[in-house]
């Protein structure tokens, strides 16, 4: 039987599906991922940053490093009325 030619929108969808399948994205298997890896995968998805295969480890390493620094800042007790200094005058 000869296949009926796809319409324009179906062709576009098929192309997108092929592209998605060929993309070397790391498959998420939440059962096996460390929690920081899960955080990285979920955050990347929420931010719309595509994570290719093999990137998660490097990002997770850096995120852990940043969060260790953040913990040190977070532990310090500051008065409620201290204003943030995002752009400041020295």
């Amino acid at each position: 039987m000869q296949r009926k030619p796809l319409g324009k929108s179906k062709r576009r969808r098929a192309k997108a599906t092929r592209k998605l399948r060929s993309r070397p994205l790391r498959r998420i298997s939440s059962r096996h991922l460390h929690s920081i890896d899960r955080l990285v995968e979920a955050s990347a998805q929420a931010l719309g940053i595509p994570l290719e295969h093999g990137w998660t480890e490097g990002v997770a390493f850096n995120l852990q490093l940043i969060l260790r620094h953040a913990k040190l800042v977070d532990e310090f007790q500051l008065a409620d009325d201290i204003e943030p200094a995002p752009v400041f005058y020295a």
Binding site: G48, G58, L63, L65, V73, F76, I82, A85, V87, A90
Partner: protein
């Protein structure tokens, strides 16, 4: 006065001497430019400092200066002095690549960065753009797209970064002056690794207009040179309000060159203790040598310095990621993987923590200002060790092994975090130099420069000529 200068004399002359010769008519700006271009052609194959050489522009500019002098016009204080800039400064006609692959596709800049305009107004001659760590998120001077900047004292070693090409070009005698940028230490770290003088001015003092940013609330720009007088001359030419940089503070320029000879007598100087106590032999030797020379026997504790470094680390990660978010979505493959992973991670940091870091900055700034009621200048190491090998991943810090990329700025970050002015003064240890930070109160660049000048006059600090 230079007596019948050879090309070698011109290469290693100070900016001040070159300008004096050109102003007196004993030397033409074009001669200096030709010697400089020849030197870059001959040496930069080894140093890899330059990413673009603006030969035609430099010759035209030098010719115009020589014509001005011939017609009796007054020349500026940097007449005929060649300089180059980190490639995150806009240069009209070139894309501002900021060490990246992605920015090579940008339209050429239409106008020079403000600080280039100011140096040219003072008579200096731009000769090119300099290599740097990708998007300035770097302490090594390595670059995956352009290759690493190489240290003139040992080509196997890092220049430090991210203003690595600026450090290499000045230390290697390619130019007497360069401009760099410093978000967390990127002027001071390469100054230390390459053994030259660097000035990171007070936050808001010098205009960043038409430079590619990294972290708006931490980015500074400043000069690097082989003598304190050149640093001061350049800094004086760069000062002044600029409405094109929202962080540039509207203050009257305060020329420092005339103040250098006041020396350090009468200044209250202390060595930073605690967090800043050197754990490496080179840093310890450098600090000791400076403290003895200045007669300093007082230590001072900078409160919560480690936490300040962490807060700077956090803000950098988050603001840097925010700047790059769109590119990370569409062009992440085109980043150096080491930079890409840091930036993506930075995008994932909760805002509540970043705001806390900004609040902590307010507290820490107040504490630092209190210290300056009792002292005029504080001494601290610039880097934990002398220049590591290119490609080296870790270094020994006391009893710890730390990653190089994130930690070469361990002593610089807590200082730039609140925008204090700092001169990195090179101590010519053998076989490799290392710098000491001279830290002053906000807007007191003059004090840091006076201390550096005293050390230079006493032979303690010096930009040693490489033997390679």
């Amino acid at each position: 006065m230079l007596d019948a200068p050879t090309p070698d004399d011109l290469t290693w002359s100070t900016a001040g001497d070159l300008a004096a010769e050109v102003t007196a008519g004993r030397l033409k700006a074009l001669e200096i430019v030709e010697v400089t271009l020849a030197r870059i052609r001959a040496r930069d194959l080894l140093l890899n400092s330059f990413t673009a050489v603006t030969e035609q522009r430099a010759r035209e500019r030098a010719l115009a200066l020589d014509e001005s002098r011939a017609s009796g016009k007054l020349l500026g204080p940097l007449a005929g002095v060649p300089f180059a800039v980190k490639n995150l400064f806009d240069i009209a006609g070139l894309p501002t690549i900021a060490g990246s692959k992605i920015n090579r596709e940008k339209e050429p800049a239409r106008r020079d960065a403000s600080l280039i305009e100011r140096l040219e107004h003072a008579g200096a001659v731009l000769v090119g753009a300099l290599n740097m760590g990708e998007y300035a998120y770097d302490f090594t001077g390595e670059n995956i797209h352009d290759g690493p900047s190489r240290n003139p004292h040992d080509f196997k070693r890092m220049t430090g970064g991210s203003s690595g090409g600026s450090g290499g070009a000045v230390a290697g005698g390619l130019v007497p002056l360069a401009l760099g940028s410093d978000t967390n230490g990127s002027i001071r770290v390469p100054s230390s690794c390459c053994g030259i003088f660097g000035l990171k001015p007070t936050y808001g003092r010098l205009s960043r207009a038409r430079t590619f940013p990294l972290v708006a609330s931490l980015d500074h720009v400043g000069p690097m040179a082989r003598s304190v007088e050149d640093l001061a001359l350049t800094y004086d030419a760069l000062q002044g309000f600029d409405p094109d940089d929202p962080a540039c503070v509207n203050r009257t320029a305060q020329p420092v060159t005339p103040l250098l000879r006041r020396g350090a007598t009468g200044l209250r100087i202390a060595v930073a203790g605690g967090y800043f106590k050197p754990r490496g032999a080179e840093a310890l030797q450098a600090i000791d040598r400076v403290a003895v020379a200045l007669g300093v026997d007082r230590d001072i504790d900078i409160p919560q310095a480690e936490r300040a470094r962490s807060a700077a680390f956090l803000i950098t990660a988050s603001e840097g990621a925010s700047l790059h978010l769109d590119r990370l979505r569409g062009r992440a493959r085109d980043y150096d993987p080491a930079v890409r992973d840091r930036l993506i991670a930075g995008a994932m940091v909760p805002a509540s923590l970043v705001v806390k870091a900004h609040k902590f900055r307010r507290w820490y700034r107040q504490e630092m200002l209190k210290l300056f009621a009792d002292v005029d200048a504080i001494l601290a190491p610039a880097t934990p060790c002398a220049a590591p090998l290119i490609g080296q991943q870790t270094f020994i810090f006391g009893d710890q092994e730390l990653p190089v990329r994130a930690n070469l700025g361990i002593y610089t970050q807590p200082i730039s975090f609140v925008g204090l002015p700092v001169v990195a003064a090179p101590i010519p240890l053998s076989p490799l130099p290392i710098a000491v930070q001279i830290i002053a109160a906000p807007w007191r660049e003059d004090i840091a420069l006076r201390v550096a000048h005293t050390l230079e006059a006493g032979g303690i600090a010096a930009a040693a000529r490489p033997t390679t």
